[in-house]
C-alpha cells in the first residue's frame, strides 16, 4: 500500500483491504508513527542496558515495527493475542508496561502481567508452543458461542505471532490442522524476518510461507511487513473474518530482522552486508515518515516524537537501575495452584537455612 517513497496506493484487487485504511484519520496515523518510534527507541535503549550488564539478554524487534504496530492495532478489544518473544511492538498497542518486558530479560520474573486482563498472553520462549495454545483458546471461543453472532461487540477472535523459524516446528503444522478442522477463529501471523538466528528462511521452507496453510485448509496472504498501513489492514480484515465465523487464516508479513537474533548473536558472521542495506532502504519508520510528510505533517511532530523518545529512555534507565531483585519466596510461589507438601517443605528448609546466617555465625 505504501511505496518506499511513502506514496499510498491500493491495488484494485486489494480494495477490500483498502476500506480499512479509509476508516482511519490523521490521528490514527500519528499514533502508528509514535508507537513505532517509541518501540524503536525502547529497543535501542534496552540493547544499551544489556551491554551495561543490566539485563542478561535483549531480544531486538528492530526493523519489525510496522508488522507489530500495524497488526497490533488491527486486533480488536475482545480479541486475544499469543506472542512469541519478540513482540514488544504488539505489546504496547495493548497496554503492556514496557518495564515488565525488561523484567523478563533481566531475570526478575517470567512475565508479570495477567493475560486474562491484558488479552496479550505471556511470551513463549520455546518456538511455536504458543501457536497451539492460541488454537486451543480459539476452540474455546467457539465453544463459548462467541463467533459469528452478528454482534461485533461480543464476537472474539485470536491471533498468534510466530517467526519464519518457528514454522519448521511441528506445533505450527498441528495448530494449522486443529484450527482448520475446528474452524477456529484464529489468525496465524508469521513475521518472516528472513533469519532464524543464523539460518536463512530458505532452510525452513522451499515454498513461500503464506502457502504453508493451504494444504491444511487455511488460506494465506502475504503482506509487506514494513508497511504499517498494510499490516494494519490485513490484520483487521482477517480478524473480522475470524470473528464472523469464516475460520482461520494465515498472514505472512515480509520484514527484516535488522538487529541480531539477540544480544548474544553476531550476524556479521553469516549475513551479507548488502542485504542489510537493501532492507534499511525499506525501513518502516522512514517510509511512514515520508507518507506523513506528504499528508502535511511537519517537523514539529517529529521533534515532539524524538523528545518523547528521550524521556522514555531516561525513564527506562532510571526504573531499570532502581529495580529490586525478587524475594526468596518467589522461587516456590505458584508452582502449583493448590497446596503441595513437597514445595512447602523445601521452602521451609531454604528459609530456615538462610535465616541461620542472619542469626550470627553458625556454631
Amino acid at each position: 500500500m505504501l511505496s518506499p517513497e511513502g506514496i499510498f496506493e491500493v491495488p484494485a484487487e486489494y480494495a477490500e483491504y483498502g476500506k480499512y485504511i479509509e476508516r482511519l484519520n490523521l490521528d490514527d496515523f500519528l499514533k502508528f508513527y509514535r508507537d513505532m518510534a517509541r518501540i524503536r527507541r525502547f529497543d535501542n535503549e534496552c540493547t544499551a542496558l544489556q551491554r551495561q550488564g543490566q539485563m542478561g539478554l535483549w531480544v531486538q524487534a528492530l526493523g519489525q515495527e510496522a508488522a507489530q504496530i500495524g497488526s497490533g492495532y488491527g486486533v480488536g478489544p475482545n480479541d486475544h493475542m499469543f506472542p512469541s518473544y519478540r513482540e514488544h511492538g504488539v505489546a504496547i498497542t495493548h497496554g503492556i508496561d514496557l518495564m515488565s518486558i525488561i523484567k523478563i530479560m533481566r531475570g526478575v520474573n517470567h512475565g508479570g502481567w495477567n493475560p486474562e486482563e491484558t488479552r496479550f498472553h505471556l511470551y513463549a520462549i520455546v518456538l511455536a508452543t504458543q501457536v497451539l495454545h492460541a488454537t486451543g483458546y480459539a476452540m474455546g471461543v467457539n465453544f463459548d458461542g462467541l463467533v459469528g453472532t452478528g454482534n461485533p461487540d461480543v464476537d472474539q477472535a485470536v491471533i498468534t505471532y510466530f517467526g519464519d523459524g518457528a514454522t519448521a516446528e511441528g506445533d505450527v503444522s498441528e495448530a494449522l490442522l486443529f484450527a482448520a478442522t475446528t474452524k477456529a477463529p484464529l489468525v496465524f501471523f508469521c513475521q518472516n524476518n528472513q533469519w532464524a538466528i543464523s539460518s536463512p528462511v530458505s532452510s525452513q521452507t522451499v515454498v513461500p510461507l503464506y502457502l504453508r496453510g493451504e494444504g491444511f485448509g487455511v488460506p494465506g496472504i502475504q503482506v509487506d511487513g514494513n508497511d504499517v498501513l498494510a499490516c494494519y489492514a490485513v490484520t483487521a480484515k482477517h480478524m473480522d473474518d475470524a470473528r464472523n465465523g469464516l475460520g482461520p487464516s494465515l498472514i505472512e508479513a515480509l520484514t527484516y530482522r535488522v538487529g541480531a537474533h539477540t544480544t548474544s548473536d553476531d550476524p556479521t558472521k553469516y549475513r551479507p552486508a548488502d542485504e542489510l542495506e537493501y532492507w534499511q532502504a525499506r525501513d518502516p519508520l522512514l517510509r511512514f515518515e515520508k507518507f506523513l510528510r506528504r499528508q502535511g505533517v511537519g517537523d514539529d511532530f517529529f521533534e515532539e516524537v524524538a523528545k518523547a523518545g528521550d524521556e522514555l529512555a531516561e525513564q527506562i534507565r532510571a526504573e531499570t537501575f532502581a529495580m529490586q531483585n525478587p524475594p526468596l519466596e518467589n522461587i516456590f510461589r505458584h508452582v502449583y495452584s493448590d497446596p503441595h507438601p513437597m514445595v512447602a517443605e523445601q521452602q521451609a528448609w531454604l528459609e530456615g537455612y538462610e535465616a541461620s546466617f542472619e542469626e550470627g555465625e553458625p556454631s
Binding site: G136, D171, R333
Partner: protein, 327 residues
C-alpha cells in the same frame, strides 16, 4: 448403608468422568478415537451420546496438538480430560507437557491455572507390540508443576479421576491397562481419601511392601503367599507418584524395619528410587536391612513373548522379601 456397585476399573473411570462432566459443563473429553468408538479401551464409551460432540470429540492424531490445545482451552476456562492412546505415544507431547503445561501457572505468577488431566493407559502384560507397554511415570514425577497419580482398583479409579478433574493443577493420570477389566466394588457416596494419600491395603509387621498401579495385585498376591509361610507383610499402595505420601510410608517402615518397593518401571532413576532415598533419609535408624527395589530391567521393553520374564511377578517380589528378611 452406602450405595455401592461392582465395576471393572475401565468402567469405573468412565463413571467418574461421567459424574465430573454432569457436575461441570466446562469439562471436555478429547483425544484419539475417544468419541464414537469410546477409545481403544472403551474408557470413554457412551460419553459422546450423553454429552454431545461439543464436549466429547476426536482430535487429529497429533499428541502435541492434543496437549497444546488443552492448555489453550484451560486458559479459556475449560477443564480438559485428554486421552493419550498409549504410554509410548506420549512423547510427541512431552514438550507441551513439560515445558508448557507444567510451568504456565508458575510463569504467569498464578494468574493462570492449568486444570488439565492427561489420561495415559500404561504398563505391560497385554502381549502388545512395541510402544504399548511402557511405564514412563518417572519422567513426569520428575517434572515440577505436575501431579502424577495412578489408581489400582475400581473405587480409586472412580474417585481419583474425579479428584484429578477437580484439581486446579495438571494431573497425569496413569491407568493400569492390564487391570482395566479387574472388577471391584465402588462406593458411590464418598471418596476413600484425597488423590495424593497412600493407602495401607494390608497390615503387616515384618516388612513394608510399597507398590502402585498395575503391580498392586501382584504385591497383594506376594503378601498372601508370604503369609502362608508365616511372614507378615504390610502392603502400601502409593496411589500418587507425585507428590508421594511419605508420612504413610515412613510410619510403616518405623514399624516393620524393612522395605521392598515393587514397580513395573525400569528400576534405575525411578519412583522406587525416590522412595528408597527418602526412607534412607527419614527412617535410617529404623531400618533392619537395606531398602530393596523390584522392578523391570534398564533395557527397552522387550517383545511380548519375553515380557513375562521381564516384568516383576510375585516370585521376584518374594525373592527380595527373603533377601531383606535374611539380611
Amino acid at each position: 448403608m452406602s450405595n455401592s456397585v461392582e465395576l471393572p476399573i475401565a468402567k469405573a473411570i468412565n463413571a467418574g468422568i461421567q459424574k465430573a462432566m454432569s457436575r461441570n459443563d466446562k469439562v471436555l473429553v478429547f483425544g484419539e478415537d475417544v468419541a464414537e468408538l469410546g477409545g481403544v479401551f472403551r474408557v470413554t464409551e457412551g460419553l459422546l451420546a450423553e454429552f454431545g460432540s461439543k464436549r466429547v470429540f476426536n482430535s487429529p492424531i497429533a499428541e502435541s496438538g492434543i496437549v497444546g490445545t488443552a492448555i489453550g482451552l484451560a486458559m479459556r476456562g475449560y477443564r480438559s480430560v485428554a486421552e493419550i492412546q498409549f504410554d509410548g505415544f506420549v512423547y510427541p507431547a512431552f514438550n507441551q507437557i513439560v515445558s508448557q503445561l507444567a510451568k504456565i501457572t508458575n510463569r504467569s505468577e498464578g494468574h493462570l491455572s492449568m486444570p488439565v488431566v492427561i489420561r495415559i493407559p500404561y504398563g505391560g502384560g497385554i502381549g502388545a507390540v512395541e510402544h504399548h507397554s511402557e511405564s514412563p511415570e518417572a519422567y513426569f514425577a520428575h517434572t515440577p508443576g505436575l501431579r502424577v497419580i495412578s489408581p489400582s482398583n475400581s473405587n480409586d479409579a472412580y474417585w481419583m479421576i474425579q479428584q484429578a478433574i477437580e484439581s486446579n493443577d495438571p494431573v497425569i493420570f496413569f491407568e493400569p491397562k492390564r487391570r482395566y477389566w479387574q472388577k471391584g466394588m465402588v462406593n458411590l457416596d464418598s471418596p476413600p481419601s484425597t488423590m495424593h494419600d497412600a493407602a495401607v491395603l494390608r497390615e503387616g509387621s515384618q516388612l513394608t511392601l510399597v507398590s502402585y498401579g498395575p503391580m498392586i495385585p501382584t504385591a497383594l498376591q506376594a503378601a498372601e503367599v508370604a503369609a502362608s509361610e508365616g511372614i507378615s507383610i504390610e502392603v502400601i499402595d502409593l496411589r500418587s507418584m507425585s507428590p508421594i505420601d511419605f508420612p504413610t510410608i515412613i510410619n510403616s517402615v518405623k514399624k516393620t524395619g524393612r522395605l521392598v518397593i515393587a514397580s513395573e518401571a525400569s528400576t534405575s532413576f525411578s519412583v522406587s528410587a525416590e522412595v528408597a532415598a527418602k526412607v534412607a533419609e527419614l527412617a535410617f535408624y529404623h531400618l533392619e536391612a537395606p531398602v530393596l527395589r523390584v522392578g523391570s530391567f534398564d533395557v527397552p521393553y522387550p517383545p511380548a513373548k519375553l515380557e513375562e520374564l521381564f516384568l516383576p511377578d510375585a516370585d521376584r517380589i518374594l525373592e527380595a522379601v527373603d533377601r531383606s528378611l535374611s539380611y
